[in-house]
Amino acid sequence: MSSSETIKEIVSKCEDTKETANKCEVKQETVIKSDDKVEIVTTIGDKKNEVEEDNSVVEWYNGLAKAYPDSKELQFMNYGYAHLDQDQDAETGQCYVQLYEQVIAGKTIKDKDILEVSCGRGAGAAWCVEKYSPQSYIGLDASSNVIELCKRNHSNIKNLSFVVSNASKPFPFPDQSFDIVLSVEATHAYGGPKAVRQFAHEVARVLRPNGYLLWCDTCHIDQTGSSIEYLTDGGELIVEEKVNITKNVLRARDIMNKSGVEFIDRVIPMNQRKLWLDFAGMPGSLIYENLREERIIYWRAVLTKK
């Protein structure tokens, strides 16, 4: 959802997860950028931006699911996609399903077998099943509390099922089980290049020939490789199509700003307000500025098996 650095920052400060942060030896440096800007740089262990086993992210989402199970504002956890030349409705959360629509890129879902990795609370899955009528749809996520919400909210859809499993470890499915794997704004949180490469290897294994990985995520351009390269440098997946949708994502954040801030003001304790604004990528947050300045690019891509 937001950059892994921001998540680690949140983890290190959030009262609920102090214990996790302490175990990970979190160090923080405060860097004064200017009179009104302070940057807090957080390092977990001695690897900046890379955590061997990134349980902090899973625990963050487990915590959210426990604390805010019914908030409709948290049913989708992506930044959203807005068309640049149309008015969009902030109330219905249209931006969130539009991101799924863009990632699907017109590929056939009907009567196909779909796997969504890191499906979150399943709102995207439920929407896809209703709109596109796949033969089967499995939502996978490492957060057991989140999958519990999926089951609670979406068990009425018979060809939609959910499983708790780790996206950056072997998938519990046989070779060539799926026509499409969907990955929406998730790989940045897997814990670094090694985890994303492992994910890509498993995607290639479970995809049928002529199957697709339909993917979108943020990519930092100041690192040695972006997430797209980590998906392809194993040589098992190739990019068929790649589109920079940063401006559309920023517009979605602008449109959702008012309702997002209203939710945060209403529900979140004051001392966590800034963290949540950062987490949500709201205008004014570090991630928003990085997207605006294109230090981070938001890509969507269609990948196929080599």
Binding site: K151, V163, P172
Partner: protein, 118 residues
Amino acid sequence: MLTSNILKGVTKGFPLKIKAVKVENVSVDYNRDFVARILQRIEYGALQSAVKDLGLNESLPETMSDAMQQDDEFLKLMHKVLLEYEIEEGELICPETGRKFPISKGIPNMLLQETEVS
């Protein structure tokens, strides 16, 4: 039960044995086309093992022929077995390693430990 038919253990382990502590009967609207399509993906032998593991009072034919996949009686039986038994609490057990994956509130937990991944 539908999900358990396509999950597998860490390397080759399939089919997973099922041990159930709590099984619930649910009612799902019958959709002939859906069941007929799903049957093409099902490992029938694995399904028979699962029914046996769970001690369900259902008698499945020895083999599943092409003709049977069009037969209404058989399709209704498959609908019942695949969609109307929910394993709420139990375990999935890898036939190769014996590794147990818990099922809790109807959700299989396939999370692997770091030590299980080469």
